[in-house]
Subunit: 203 residues, 2 copies
DNA sequence: GGGTCTATATATAATTA
DNA sequence: TTAATTATATATAGACC
């Protein structure tokens, strides 16, 4: 259990390199998260790592896809132009998501209808009266990540002023027109932190 | 000099929050760099921070701009299409850079011409004989960073196969056609590590 | 504001389970 | 392979310039 002072050089041994990566990456993510909480800094770290499983990558891509679709849905009032730029895959995914959300809404309405009247519409002092209802996950979207040839785009629309938003919509439109195949990631892994805390709102 | 165990919550005091950010960001960058060296992991960290000076940001933008222009220059054989997509600002910057590089080349040639013949073209055992010449900084470009409305694109062209490179050129062309105003960054700061070490080559 | 110092908190290399 | 353990290296909070 003696610990040597690590010499700063590429670790040639495969297994110990991977072990070191796992440990240090975990530590790094923790530090990122701490910086985000302590100082209100939104941040992202991207690792081009061969050590992460594909399933995890696919989950990220799926999440990103869902976030993108949610975003389009919620910016619908601004996004008439965008809709015309959607390709078949986009529209299909959007439909799936809308179905899911609609189903949630119906369930929630059903559950709500069964509740005694005095809990409806009241500013209930705690969330206890609503706790059994299906959760509403339709929060404002937090970020879009697009992975391409070792490239990532991140957009934060939470605190975008109308002008910037419009500009972003225009860019999204261009994206959809020119790169219809933006929905599947590259061959590397990415991590993300931050975005859940915004110094302008949260503190 | 007693150190309290830090409680994980937003630091309300402005100056100590900034101080903490400075220290922890430095530590984080060091850790990123170490992970890059130890495990051969290319990585990037992006901080949406209000604590970085604008001059530093502008320097990054300038560096990115120069990198982009260098890249276009070096991919010239592939970039006939790109050139047609360049706007006035692009071409102006490219001209400036070409002038600078040309001047370096001329200086270097002059210096070279003054050297005794036996040092010319020889595989000199050390760099001492060349040490006084103006440095040639025309290395292959490492990355393009484009900053927009809280968005960053990073491309690594060092180890791009010809197909991918062609694809990237096409994308760059589209970028130039549709977003002629991509040369100035947003209002936040970004950091970058990695890219200088490639596990496929370096180790 | 930024730099230095030092005690202490935290991360982690090596090892074992 | 992933999970603890533990001794030690490293990061950093608070104090002082």
């Amino acid at each position: 259990m003696i610990r040597k002072k690590v010499k700063l050089a590429y670790i040639t041994n495969d297994s110990s390199r991977k072990a070191t990566y796992k440990k240090r990456n975990k530590g790094l993510m923790k530090k990122m998260s701490e910086l985000n909480i302590l100082c209100g800094i939104d941040n992202v770290a991207i690792m081009y790592s061969p050590y992460e499983s594909q399933t995890k990558l696919k989950k990220h891509c799926k999440d990103n896809r869902e976030t993108k679709m949610t975003q389009v849905m919620f910016n619908n009032i601004y996004s008439k132009w965008v809709v015309h730029g959607l390709n078949f895959g986009d529209i299909n995914d959007l439909n799936l998501l809308l179905d899911e959300k609609m189903s949630n809404i119906v369930k929630r309405m059903d559950a709500f209808a069964m509740k005694p009247l005095y809990t409806q519409g009241a500013l209930s002092s705690s969330s206890s009266s609503m706790v059994a209802l299906p959760p509403m996950t339709m929060v404002m979207p937090k970020a879009i990540l697009r992975t391409g040839t070792k490239g990532i785009v991140q957009l934060d629309v939470n605190n975008m002023d109308p002008m910037k938003r419009q500009q972003w919509i225009m860019e999204l439109m261009n994206n959809n027109n020119n790169n219809p195949q933006t929905h599947v990631g590259g061959d590397e892994m990415m991590f993300q932190f931050g975005d859940n805390i915004n110094p302008n709102n949260g503190h």
